[in-house]
Subunit: 323 residues, 2 copies
Amino acid sequence: MPPATHPTAAPAADLPAGPVAVIGAGTIGAAWAAFFALAGLPVRVADPAPGAAARLDAMLERARPAMQALGTLSAAPTAPVLAHGIGDAVCGAAFIQEALPEDLALKQRAYRDIEAAAPTDALLMSSSSGLMPSALQHGLRHPQRLLVAHPCNPAYLMPLVELVGGAQTAPAALDRAEAFYRALGKQTVRLRREATGHLVNRLQAALWREAVHLVAEGYATVADVDRAVTDGLGARWTVCGPHAIFHLSGGPQGMAGFLDRLGPAVEHWWADLGQPTLDAATRALLVAQMQQAAAGRSPDQLARERDAWMLRVLGLRRGDPAD
Amino acid sequence: MPPATHPTAAPAADLPAGPVAVIGAGTIGAAWAAFFALAGLPVRVADPAPGAAARLDAMLERARPAMQALGTLSAAPTAPVLAHGIGDAVCGAAFIQEALPEDLALKQRAYRDIEAAAPTDALLMSSSSGLMPSALQHGLRHPQRLLVAHPCNPAYLMPLVELVGGAQTAPAALDRAEAFYRALGKQTVRLRREATGHLVNRLQAALWREAVHLVAEGYATVADVDRAVTDGLGARWTVCGPHAIFHLSGGPQGMAGFLDRLGPAVEHWWADLGQPTLDAATRALLVAQMQQAAAGRSPDQLARERDAWMLRVLGLRRGDPAD
């Protein structure tokens, strides 16, 4: 629903104090590093893989015009510095953004290395898209300062960060993380309980499950299901979430009116939704039809077109809806 | 995904020939009547309820600035005429858009009245959001010209129309309906098989089911789940559908790369999705939290804010993504 106060993408006047360390310079980590640096924070990055420096440079080049367009580019941007390992990256850091592959044991090993060198009050923020913070913080000496801070892709562009505490996370750590991201112009949502996939990936997976069902059972093609979303649902979902949409279709009584009138129909649809599996035949169908829908354009070319469109949509959000 | 050819909301130079009848002037029917009239077609409306004329006037006033902004307003708009019953409305009509309440028996009775007075080659297009065309056409004398043409709300604003044929629908009827809506600047998708809820409502119901689960189980509030959509998923879904999003996150191999790398994680999330019911406790929770999220704004006020935002988002789609 339209926010009661209009969101602003502009960073606050007071930048969060202290340098940032980014652990891992894959797609997510490099996007975070570019975002923090272009927002004006000193950034040190740990990634032993060859090509990390080139990936950071490429991401910085891609993020700069996007952040300029969104108004989140600092007047005094920095550039990420590639550190000599985790210990070197986190030494003296106030905020540590971990963006390693989704492997619990790998991440837990990295957190032990991080704790050995980082200040005891540094915030540990995992970008994990699916793992639970309770599992990540298991065995740490100061587990109360670890949380999940999951961005939407790409992190330099998309406003949302999901914040999730584990069993041992201190509320003050979540408060501090919230203030940190908001000072940088991000929108945050805080989960009250941890869930695998948090909110965004669960909601996305739920919609895609039905999309796959519709394709696998021959109701529509990949291209047509995608158009049902881009031409039918996407525009409304930039301003109203799924609950608000139904609230607004319920007449003067809002959600209560909707549930009275259409609740039974929705439950009927729920009962009819599919439960597909990604078996070999379904995978082949999805790949073939996606290929056809792409009409010869490469994923990289499509991604650039997507980012250009999204920038324009996100740019709208900075304005007043009553304009 | 960004369309290979850019969509245009402007109506084609050649308007579809022939007058339109709209059966039912509730929210959906009045929006259709306003859309057809402001696009320049002669429109006759059947609705016995008191207040139909006032509803048509109010909708016309609301639709005019929206269609002007989108470029779909005709240089020679008409105004819907309230007819004396169904027979009077459909006499001489080439296109008949039915928008009666979701009651199969009620609609079937109306179709018998329509067939008694309409030209035998008039297209019968039902706005039903959930009923199957095979059920609607049952017992008609000329069932081959009936199909479902389901709009997104509001029909004067949203580009998408879902076209669904039943067991007896002639392919030529679907072709003719497609040409009709496209000439008026709409985007159409055609289902290959009929499904309860078509595409849009099934996909929306799938996402909302998980949204309700997250609220009912206390993972997040209505407001926060909605923000996960508006701030996280909505912007990308205006340009890339659910398949294209994953195609673009799969590296150079696209969808195949995504399925190899993340297919198992998605199936893991699928298995964990909720199956809530709209019982009394859940309904009370949704109503109370929605009330809180609305922060004192009425559904009508929120709907106006939504339409203003959506107009701006849809306006973007008329431009070139490479701008």
